[in-house]
Symmetry: C2
Subunit: 285 residues, 2 copies
Amino acid sequence: MKSILMVGQSNMAGRGFLTAVPPILNDHLRMLRNGRWQQLAEPVNVDREVAGVGLAPAFAQAWSADHPTETLGLIPCAEGGSALAEWAPDAPLMRHAISEAHFAQETSEIIAILWHQGENDSLDHHYRTYQTQLTHTLTHLRTALNLPAVPIILGGLPAFLGQHGFGLSATEAPQIDALIRQTAAELPQAYFVTAADLTANPDGIHLNAPSQRRFGIRYYQAFHQRADVLAPLADEAQRVAALTTHPLTAAETLYLQSKRFALGQTTFDEFMAAVQASRSGEADA
Amino acid sequence: MKSILMVGQSNMAGRGFLTAVPPILNDHLRMLRNGRWQQLAEPVNVDREVAGVGLAPAFAQAWSADHPTETLGLIPCAEGGSALAEWAPDAPLMRHAISEAHFAQETSEIIAILWHQGENDSLDHHYRTYQTQLTHTLTHLRTALNLPAVPIILGGLPAFLGQHGFGLSATEAPQIDALIRQTAAELPQAYFVTAADLTANPDGIHLNAPSQRRFGIRYYQAFHQRADVLAPLADEAQRVAALTTHPLTAAETLYLQSKRFALGQTTFDEFMAAVQASRSGEADA
């Protein structure tokens, strides 16, 4: 199977509200838990109690549509509120991400690194050293994973930063955004994705759930085309809608039924009836 | 700071419904995330989408009441549905748990291992080799953590297993329960905690949230007394109630306000008013 490493801060982890978009359910998608693969379910990157919808599930679902017979796993290592300095080679976040990635590499091939970070460096003139540090961090990741040419997709910073709520202090976001783009331009096999026109949660710093779906489509477009995405895609809305319109497979239906039963939302008889229906569906297929 | 390793299967991870008990909030408690410590919030052990209330937060809260100036961190490594064979020394779950524990040991002293497992071995005569395997697994953990005498608390299996829902197949739970108790008796510094009188979720296999609170108190009693807990404690209900009756500190209140703001449940003005109130509370203290 293939896999994807998720690194950066909260907008990579995801803070979109889980109830604001239809869930992504696909029995070809996995996430790393305790060093092993499990069925993907959001929130994937549970760094905090408030973890929610991130961009990676939309990326994965779009990839899956183009690779219907293959399996993709997400390796969640993003950490809310982390400054770039906390991703230095010797820092715990970096060492932990590499450790998680090594577990994933026992059973999968990492085909891309998805990176989003910068809000916590959009103040106090951090931009002076940002590009050097970012290049160092990303190069170290490639070296540690023994993947010197693995594609890296870097998202830009949204325009709503610096204006209100938790985003207020991020006054130098435009400078950091430009440096992320510049880093992508200078680092081989690295691609920039604009955050233009994306929308915040009420907190003023986190991308809302619909925007995370759009951002994930843009990340996938950059990966698929091996090219920067410098403007919103013309067909973004349709591609987001297509993420969740396919009919559920028998296995996906069974996953949902198991979840509902585990949460006390259906009876055992209803659950067993669903299992039987799922099995006869498989027999028919 | 001190820390606690959580290992085993779903009833160690926790599947109690989050809305069924008051939350545990304590700024002296932490959980490991991405190799670092964060404020404890439930669910702590997010192995699955349905992760919920486990026993470890109640254990931690009871410990904190006895050590009010100290900090305790939980290291969540339990994995739903895992059979004992999946905890063999070379298996990914074991290697991953050791890796997580090593990150925790960079900044903390592990003072206990909390173990709960057995539902997935309560069938097909797994009891024939269970005690040998369990002793081997726990001894390996101690060796790998370089903690040869660290206390290990082992919970027994609830009596509701083998009867309905997801618990139906666990027909040999009484045999496994006896072997867990026997293992604790024969392994040095290992203590057994009964699951007597605890109650299931509607799924017939997972301890419900109130029972997880009680189980956590029993685990702490075994740790504190360095002795088996072979029957429900006489004052269990009062001790569970005491877990969540203390007034919140300024930092705990601020954590709750930040969470509500991040989830869009309060406005920025309300949040900032709470920050100001919290600061003046601290100045008063």
